[in-house]
């Protein structure tokens, strides 16, 4: 008891400045918390209950929803397996993750989809156990390879599921799903392109270096909204009139622009990693008789990428947050739906702030989980 009192005194009332700071801090926390809690208690949240389907998938027709849930279950299984396999799980951390990830489930689960959710949960637990078991088994390397390959082919499979058997038109995709898909595509296409650009910028070939630098600096020079506007007004006029390329739908155009935009930022991140690799590594590999291409692929790049993984994850978070900017292309993403509900549904007129809070919460949960993962990787790799 005495130790506790001493600690409180040292922590809060160590000096005159501390006393003032503690009191203002306490008042500030009380003020903010009282506003937030009274807002939560006094608002009507039926808005979410009615519109959760809309928020998740936008205008997608009811009979196509199974596609979305299939994708969700695949992703959930992969995530749980990788967490069980790669991370050292402690109880405190996993409770935190579970609580956070419950929020989207609580928001999105309806009576019709309850079965899906239960199914996903059971499958996830089974795969979690499998991943945990194979962590120390003999087939460790094979399992590791399988997980990596499935991460790589996850996105193409998702696309297949969305389009197979006469799927809905791309312009009908919407809601939180499209934010996730756009972000995934941007990172999936932007990462290899970013690696090429970073290598180009570090290259000794003058022309290639010049072009890569120019590309990176120009893309980073203007804000993303401007590039998206370019995709809206100008891009169709520059595409060749082959295979119906000239009238690409707006979602694909947004994907192209986001990937090109992401690649410039990822290139800068990877360049930092390339620069931090000591020159001796390259020289040693030349001394072993490797040529410059295999030196880059097998010696320099793996080390550089390993160093920059946390930064790449934060770039990914930034891109994920930036997908909310597709409002300018009139794509019905989560933010746009969140703004349209209080404007168009009579029952929820004037509930803009509540609706926006739900949108912010969803973005926040996903970004927070991603940044926690990035921190875990950073600790694990010991950078």
């Amino acid at each position: 008891m005495r130790i506790l009192l001493n600690r409180i005194r040292e922590n809060f009332f160590g000096s005159k400045l501390d006393v003032i700071l503690s009191i203002t801090g306490a008042l500030f926390i009380y003020f903010v918390l009282s506003i937030v809690i009274s807002f939560i208690l006094n608002s009507d949240w039926t808005l979410i209950l009615v519109n959760r389907q809309l928020m998740l998938t936008g205008l997608m027709p009811e009979e196509e929803i199974w596609r979305v849930w299939t994708i969700f279950s695949l992703t959930a299984i992969l995530i749980t397996t990788s967490i069980a396999f790669w991370f050292n799980i402690n109880i405190k951390g996993s409770i935190f993750y579970i609580l956070l990830l419950l929020i989207p489930f609580l928001i999105f689960t309806t009576k019709n989809t309850l079965l899906y959710v239960l199914f996903i949960m059971i499958l996830s637990i089974v795969f979690f156990y499998l991943g945990y078991r194979s962590k120390n088994s003999e087939s460790k390397n094979i399992v590791s390879r399988i997980i990596v390959i499935s991460w790589i082919i996850l996105l193409p499979i998702c696309f297949l599921i969305l389009n197979i058997l006469d799927g809905p038109k791309m312009t009908l995709w919407g809601g939180f799903m499209i934010n996730l898909i756009l972000a995934a595509i941007a990172i999936f296409a932007g990462f290899p392109l970013g690696i090429l650009l970073a290598l180009g910028r570090a290259s000794s070939y003058k022309l290639i270096k010049l072009i890569s630098t120019l590309y990176i600096e120009v893309i980073r020079g203007a804000p993303l909204v401007a590039w998206l506007l370019l995709a809206w007004f100008v891009l169709p006029k520059f595409l060749p009139n082959l295979f119906g390329l000239s009238d690409l739908n707006i979602v694909v155009r947004a994907m192209i622009v986001l990937s090109l935009f992401a690649s410039a930022y990822i290139a800068e991140v990877i360049r930092g990693g390339l620069q931090s690799i000591p020159r001796g590594q390259e020289e040693a590999s030349f001394a072993l008789g490797m040529n410059s291409i295999s030196t880059t692929i097998f010696i320099v790049l793996p080390q550089a990428i390993k160093i920059v993984i946390p930064t790449v994850v934060s770039t990914f978070i930034a891109i994920f947050k930036d997908t909310s900017l597709v409002f300018i292309l009139a794509i019905t993403d989560l933010l746009r739906i969140g703004r349209l509900i209080p404007e168009q549904q009579q029952a929820f007129f004037g509930k803009s702030i509540e609706s926006l809070c739900v949108v912010a919460l969803l973005f926040w949960v996903v970004s927070l989980v991603l940044s926690q993962i990035s921190r875990t990787i950073e600790k694990k790799l010991n950078i």
């Binding site: 809060f12 000096s15 503690s22 801090g25 022309l207 006029k237 703004r339 702030i353 927070l368």
Partner: protein, 400 residues
């Protein structure tokens, strides 16, 4: 290409061997790869130019009448009869205005929150952590819209909150009292600014003189005194009158409420500003925290041993050293803030991006407008980088 390249061939070699030798030559390979790449680029370039020539090019349409009004103008007095160029420049000035104020406020907020994040005081520490974790992980656009919705929820102007008649809070904006003056005010401000520069130069000169010669006077006091003298003399020479301008709300004969006086923060401007400052502030907080943490702990301990108090420790020992590693990433955040100000298009604050979009919608010519936007943002970025580089040079020189 050096002549040795061809001398290594022997006439009896087969063509296959010759080619093989040729490609093993480093200089030839470099030349060949860049040549192929260059041809590919050239083709792409011609293709793009060919397509671009079919579009509307040229900036001629910017000379004609704009035909749209702007809700916010600053310095430039723009109305819808002016040319589109004028509208564009009004937009550029709006962007610069919100970015400049945002940069200053975000830096202050970031430094305080960064220090708070390292504070041993539990409450302060947790406030800072909560601020960073919550604001950084939500999209900026959501925040901008949130602030605008919140500011529009303020009471109608007929029931404005006045807080003892000093301010007016309503959904038409926030009015704050300012000190205003007669028509010589801007001239006086200019003189004050020049006086400040003169006294700062004087101060550094005096310090140098003091180091070399005698230790008889205080340069700080003398330069401050010079500044005060300049201010007072110019004040009376211009016959200045200062008054306290308090905002007020009146009802005219039609029953319309009119707000007048004071300094006005419109909901749009305030929303963009708050969101930009809070959002960029989180990143600056993390930069400041990282830089201070990377300093050796011995610096703080040595400062404590010298008997410096906590304020002196921070301002004299910690921050000057941390600044060296703070400034390069800080520059990046300033650039981000400037570019992010384009998101104000979502709530109709007429920055340069929104004005360009209006012009594109009205007059077409999307490609040249786009080039203009790109050039403007690149220029703004260059100016910021240049200023920050100068500051960086100064900061790194002090410690060296």
């Amino acid at each position: 290409m050096p002549s040795s390249l061809f001398t290594q061939f022997k006439s009896e070699d087969s063509i296959k061997k010759k080619l093989n030798l040729l490609f093993r030559n480093r200089i030839f390979r470099r030349f060949f790869i860049q040549f192929v790449f260059g041809i590919f680029l050239l083709l792409l370039f011609f293709y793009i130019v060919d397509k671009a020539l079919n579009l509307e090019l040229g900036f001629g349409h910017l000379n004609s009448r704009a035909g749209f009004g702007l809700s916010h103008t600053f310095i430039i007095d723009y109305n819808s009869n002016d040319s589109r160029w004028m509208g564009y420049f009004a937009g550029v000035i709006n962007t610069i205005r919100v970015s400049l104020v945002g940069i200053v406020l975000a830096t202050i907020l970031g430094i305080f929150m960064g220090l708070a994040r390292l504070s041993p005081n539990f409450l302060i520490n947790k406030i800072s952590t909560g601020y960073v974790e919550f604001i950084r992980n939500t999209p900026l656009l959501v925040q901008i819209i949130f602030w605008q919705l919140l500011l529009l929820q303020l009471p109608h102007i007929s029931k404005a909150l006045t807080f003892g008649g000093l301010t007016v809070f309503s959904n038409k904006g926030i009015l704050l009292p300012i000190i205003s003056s007669n028509e010589n005010g801007s001239l006086w401000t200019l003189i004050l600014f020049l006086g400040l520069i003169v006294s700062l130069i004087l101060r550094s000169r005096l310090f140098k003189y003091k180091e070399e010669h005698v230790d008889l006077f205080s340069p700080n006091l003398i330069s401050f005194f010079t500044f005060v003298v300049i201010a007072i003399i110019s004040f009376f020479a211009l016959s200045m009158k200062l008054s306290f301008n308090v905002p007020e709300v009146n009802v005219n004969q039609y029953g319309t409420y009119i707000q007048s006086g004071g300094f006005i923060l419109t909901p749009q401007f305030a929303a963009v500003l708050f969101a930009l400052v809070l959002y960029t502030g989180t990143f600056i907080t993390e930069i400041v925290r990282g830089s201070i943490q990377s300093l050796p702990k011995g610096q703080t301990e040595a400062a404590m041993a010298l008997g410096l108090n906590s304020y002196q420790r921070i301002t004299l020992i910690i921050l000057p050293q941390a600044l060296r590693s703070i400034i390069p990433p800080l520059t990046n955040q300033y650039l981000n803030l400037t570019k992010n100000s384009s998101l104000s298009v979502a709530i109709a604050y007429p920055d340069l991006f929104m004005v360009s979009r209006t012009i594109m919608n009205n007059a077409g010519h999307a490609l040249p407008m786009f080039v203009l936007i790109l050039i403007t943002y690149l220029t703004l970025s260059l100016v910021i980088s240049l200023i920050m580089n100068i500051i960086n040079l100064r900061v790194t020189r002090i410690g060296a």
